[in-house]
Amino acid sequence: MTEPRALVEHFFRHEFGRLVAVLTRSLGVRRLDLAEDVVQAALIEALQTWSRRGVPEDPGGWLYRTARNLAIDGLRRERTHARALPRLGEGGARESPLHEEQLEAHFADEIGDEPLRLLFVCCHEAVPAESRVALALRMLCGFSTAEIARALLTTNANVQKRIERARDRLRELDVEFDTPAAAELNARLEAVLAVVYLVFTQGCYATHGDMPIRHDLCDEGRRLARMLAAHPVGDVPAVHALLALMCFQAARFDARVAADGTIVLLEEQDRSAWNHSDVREGMAWFARSAAGDELTRYHVEAAIAWEHCRAATFADTDWRQIAGLYDTLERIAPSPLHALNRAVAEAYLQGPQAGLDLLAAVAKDDVPARYPGWHAVIGELHFRLGKHAAAAHAWQEALRWTTARADQEFLRRRLAFCRPDHGSQANE
């Protein structure tokens, strides 16, 4: 019997993505479904066998050989089936099946940039925008439908639909399994970065009670970005900036959540609890992102996150610098949320009224009425001005749209301060 051996963390999940990518290179993007099925079957076989015999010396190689054989079996069955069809009067096969020999030859090559190519496929413009994150989480990160649904705060049926639609579109357009040529690289890379950042941010904000899944999302987002940066195609300043941004944000994760699960505001965070190895990694990426003259939204956001990391205490925060950066960000990537953040910075710089004035200037149509953070900030600014009724009103509105328990608890605590008996605290 093989000596019992433990697997590295997330081994199955990451092997899933690697194997789907390697198989897709041989099977083609049209057969993503087959690749996914045989990889799932190979993992099940591994579970069965390893559970009794122990983990083999080279678990990755074991899985790879098993998945390859299953793929060849699958193709052989389809070919037998396709030959039988004309006899049954159903017409010939519509797609010429791949030759086994061809498949064997492909597999003989070393595993290279397949996961990266798969990432570009998942973020292809043919794939509907809302399907991209779901597809990437399934194919590259090995998330199940239920896990994706929990991560993206939607239903299993909806995730299933998004993935099927994505696969259909990729098949229809017969998308090539390759990284894009130089001419279209920038546009395609932008879509990839947006998806990777979305995977990360979905994990950052605890909009849901399921903490482990959310941390996984942040880790996966960073893993995908590092994978990009490790390849010449993705070794560019925008990717470095995104990595810097993720590292600076990730550094604060542990300090953001109190022992009882409630949110700790930046102002009250224990800065010594920030993860300094994350900060250091972020600084290294940030330095590399400065090469060239490109300024992306990720550069600006990384610069803002860096300003927060840099300040030894909350009082040391350079709000003038941050307000200026948000101003730049809003010009590069207009969004009411950037206006909101700028208002917060201005409020620290010039007082709460300046922040409120800025928010009032945002066009009515652009106000994200269902975004709790919007109302929470307005409540906070009113509160600081001593206008408790207005603050309570805004916080009630924020509470209406908040689904996360930790956020609800936070808002309730703030609301309690608005009661008349707490009025004396207004004059801070």
Partner: protein
């Protein structure tokens, strides 16, 4: 001999992360009873069936259960064997549930 029988009814497949958790549980089980476990293996889902000289291919779609894996253990009596089987992963939860048939080998082991 532990014979693990699994239902052929389709049920939601575990996600890779859940598989890893299950694998971890089996690893702990194997470590805990390493002195008792002699060997074992998982079985591939398909095979051949020979009956009255006629050979057919698996999978055996008509069967309600299939043998999925086996483990040979060394135990003094059935009580000791049952104690080990009870601690097998998947016995307490519904997930990955299987029936374990415990049989003593006939020959001199």
């Amino acid at each position: 001999l532990f014979i693990f029988r699994e239902s052929t009814e389709s049920r939601p497949q575990p996600s890779p992360e859940e598989m890893q958790a299950l694998q971890g549980a089996w690893y702990k089980w194997m470590q805990k009873f390493s002195s008792a476990i002699v060997g074992g293996d998982g079985l591939k889902p398909s095979g051949r069936l020979v009956k009255a000289g006629i050979v057919t291919d698996g999978p055996y779609t008509e069967a309600k259960e299939v043998i999925a894996s086996f483990t040979i253990i060394q135990a003094d009596d059935y009580d000791a064997a049952v104690a080990i089987a009870r601690e097998c992963p998947g016995q307490d939860t519904g997930k990955g549930c299987h029936r374990i048939e415990i049989r003593e080998l006939g020959g001199y082991a």
